[in-house]
Structure formats: structure tokens, C-alpha cells
Symmetry: C2
Subunit: 231 residues, 2 copies
């Protein structure tokens, strides 16, 4: 089912962005999936994004290499260790070392560039303000400010004809609600991977912030996470 | 002379960004030069940026490859012809085909990422609203909106401790005033290149918008442009 409206959807291959893509599709958008390969240590995320894009039959899937490693500053792009915990309640409330500097700003900028070329007014990003682990660029006020900037940055901002909208359908959902929403839309979460520190085979560690939040999301729905975990 | 304050300066190797870097340096900043290699057809710009960075003795110079070609949509990144004119007065007022979608947004996002890692609060960009040929992302209201967004995107936005400032020292100068300012600061414009369509040897065409505006800037100062031109 397609309404012919184009949407650029940021797709990492994780649980959130996969759910977000499912929502865009169910809202009737033609999905243009954009995966950012940003020097993260887990290339299995990119493979997951490929699986998801194929399974959702997207109009086009682009993977863009970006080089945030040159800047350093994050456990996801440099040699800082990813923190592990035994329980989800051990996750701190401060900004974690897995924070990537200005990540969503860089990602949304690329999405904006592609949207402008496609003539798409709609961008989807699976940010989440509840389980966001303290990332500043997952908050609604940030998204609002980006939208305002975007509409001054582009031709549409000058001509006033086609303002850009940033859709954040997960922003106020708990992880359990996100999982529920995706299951209702028929998402196979076995395709996805969320771990910050997977092994060589791409199996999740089960103990980083992303794994703990994900596992709790499934548990609260009373079902097993179909993702691949170590041992 | 250095005040120990760090500034990230976007440096293309053209006349404007080189002048901007000279101003940042004369304002007492330690310059961290950031060059974006964005699939433009003129790699001689990158060589110019290297020359400028060396001549200014910057603290660090990073060149980041970004891949806007995948998106298409601009004469600077795809196969659309660069428009040529005989006179500067023939330049149109509509948005030209040399506009790169969301370019300054992508560039500033990277600058923001690096600034955050460096602990720098200052970013310099040589945008110009007068001779801007109709690019939407060169206007003051765009820069203001980016700044607001940036201060919600980063750790500093959460803690409120170190707001980011975007410096646009050229924004309301004519090209002639920019040239004058640079000459007063001792800039050797022979290092720089501005042409949208240089030849194999990196010599400027003299007839694209960028060349015509640059040539007029020197002429209005009563001096010859020391850049290399064809024939």
C-alpha cells in the first residue's frame, strides 16, 4: 500500500528505527531508507539494516559512509570501552560514553539533503525521549529546533512551498510500547540488532544499555526477544 | 599569537573561507580547520585548503570525505553543467543549479561534532548573504536557527555550561570588502581557488558565478586577482 508520498527514514537496523520504518510504511509513505555507516564497531548493524530494507520492500536504500572516527570522543566510534551492567536499573542517568557527538544532527542533515533532492517533505527518525539514556539530541525541543532550522536551510524555506516535517513516532513511547507497536505491525525483530558491543558473529552481549533496555521491552510484553544473543 | 581558545573553521580553500580563517586567527583563536571533500568535481579546492592550512599554521587540519553524490541534485556534485556568463550582471537571482542540497547544514553538523569533542565553543563559516547567489543556507536567520538547534543538540545544551557560537564575519560584506579585509590581514589569495569549473591544471574558468564575483571583488579594490585563470 503506497500513497505516493515519499519519506526519508533513518534506518540503523536496530529495534527503534525498524519500528519507525514500519510505522512510516503503515502511514502510507513510500520509504526511502537511509543508513549511516559511521565507523561504529558493529558492522552487523549495517547488515541488519539491509535485511530490514529488503523485508519492507523500500523504494530505495542508501548507505552513506560517514567518518566521525576522525573526531573521536565516543565509545561507539573509538577505543573507549562500552559500559556493561548486570541489571537495567544500573544504567546511569548522566550522558553515557556511548553518546556520539552531534550524531542525530549529522544524520538528520543527510536525511534533509536527500529529502530535498527527492522532493520529500517527510523525514522519520526513531528517537526516544523516555529510554534515551541521557542523549541530548533525542529530546522533542531538539527536534523542533532542527525542523525550524531545516525550513530555513532549503529551497522550500525560501519559497515557502514545501516545509519539511520530522516525524518522531517513538519519542514518548517506552521500549515495551515500541515493541508492542512493531509486533502489531508484523515486524520480525529477529532481523534487527541493537547491541553496542556484539561479538564477531553479530550476537548481542545482553549487558550493554541498549541490550538491557531491549530485553526489558520484550519481557514487559511477556515474550522472548527473537534477537541473537551470546551463549 | 594564540589566546588558547579553540575554534573550528570550515575551510574550502576558496576566497571566503580563507579570509574567514584569517579573521579567526587574528581574533586570537587556535584554528582547527575542517575541509569537507564532498564529491565536488574540483579536487584542486582540497589542495588549496591544504596550502591555506599550512600557511596559517593551524593547530590541526582535518579533511572529511562526505558523499553527497549519492543524492545527486547539484551541478557541483553531479553531471549538470555549471552555468557560464560573460558578465557578473548576468548572474540570475533565482537559486542556481550549483546549490548543493543542505550543504551548509551538513558542514556545520560536522563542525559541531568536532567542536564538541575538542571542547570548542566557536565555529567559523565564511557564508555571505550579499553575494550569496540565492543560496538559502547563507542567510542570517538560517545561522541563528542552526545555533539554537546546536545548543539543544549537545551536552552543553543539557548542562547549559558552554553554548556554541557560530561566527559569520563575512555575512554582510561585499566581495570587495572581503578581499580588502583579507589583504589587510596579509592573506595571499594566490593560494586560493574559487572556480566552480576549473580545468585539469586547477586554473579557474573566469566565467562561472564564483569567478565573476571574485574578479569583481578584486577589480573594485583596483588590483589584479593573483589566482590562476585559463588562457
Amino acid at each position: 500500500m503506497s500513497g505516493g508520498k515519499k519519506a526519508v527514514v533513518l534506518l540503523s537496523g536496530g529495534l527503534d528505527s525498524t519500528t519507525c520504518a514500519a510505522i512510516a510504511k503503515s502511514d502510507g509513505f513510500d520509504v526511502y531508507a537511509l543508513t549511516m555507516a559511521y565507523g561504529q564497531r558493529h558492522t552487523c548493524e549495517i547488515e541488519a539494516a539491509d535485511r530490514v530494507a529488503k523485508s519492507f520492500d523500500v523504494k530505495k536504500h542508501l548507505t552513506v559512509e560517514i567518518d566521525l572516527r576522525q573526531f573521536g570522543g565516543s565509545a561507539l566510534t573509538s577505543d573507549i570501552d562500552v559500559p556493561k551492567h548486570d541489571n537495567v536499573t544500573d544504567i546511569g542517568t548522566e550522558i553515557p560514553v556511548t553518546y556520539v557527538p552531534a550524531r542525530n544532527t549529522v544524520f538528520l542533515s543527510y536525511a534533509l539533503a536527500w529529502a530535498e533532492v527527492l522532493g520529500a517533505q517527510d523525514i522519520f527518525i526513531g528517537v526516544n525521549a523516555l529510554d534515551y539514556s541521557g542523549y541530548p539530541d533525542c529530546r522533542p525541543e531538539y527536534i523542533d529546533a532542527f525542523t525550524r532550522m531545516a525550513n530555513l536551510a532549503t529551497k522550500a524555506g525560501v519559497t515557502g512551498e514545501a516545509p519539511v516535517r520530522i516525524h518522531t513516532p517513538l519519542i514518548d513511547l517506552t521500549k515495551a510500547q515500541i515493541v508492542r507497536r512493531g509486533l502489531d505491525l508484523g515486524v520480525d525483530y529477529g532481523m534487527t540488532t541493537s547491541c553496542y558491543d556484539p561479538d564477531e558473529q553479530g550476537r548481542a552481549c545482553g549487558r550493554c544499555d541498549a541490550c538491557l533496555l531491549r530485553l526489558r521491552g520484550f519481557k514487559e510484553n511477556g515474550i522472548d526477544d527473537p534477537g541473537q544473543y551470546q551463549e
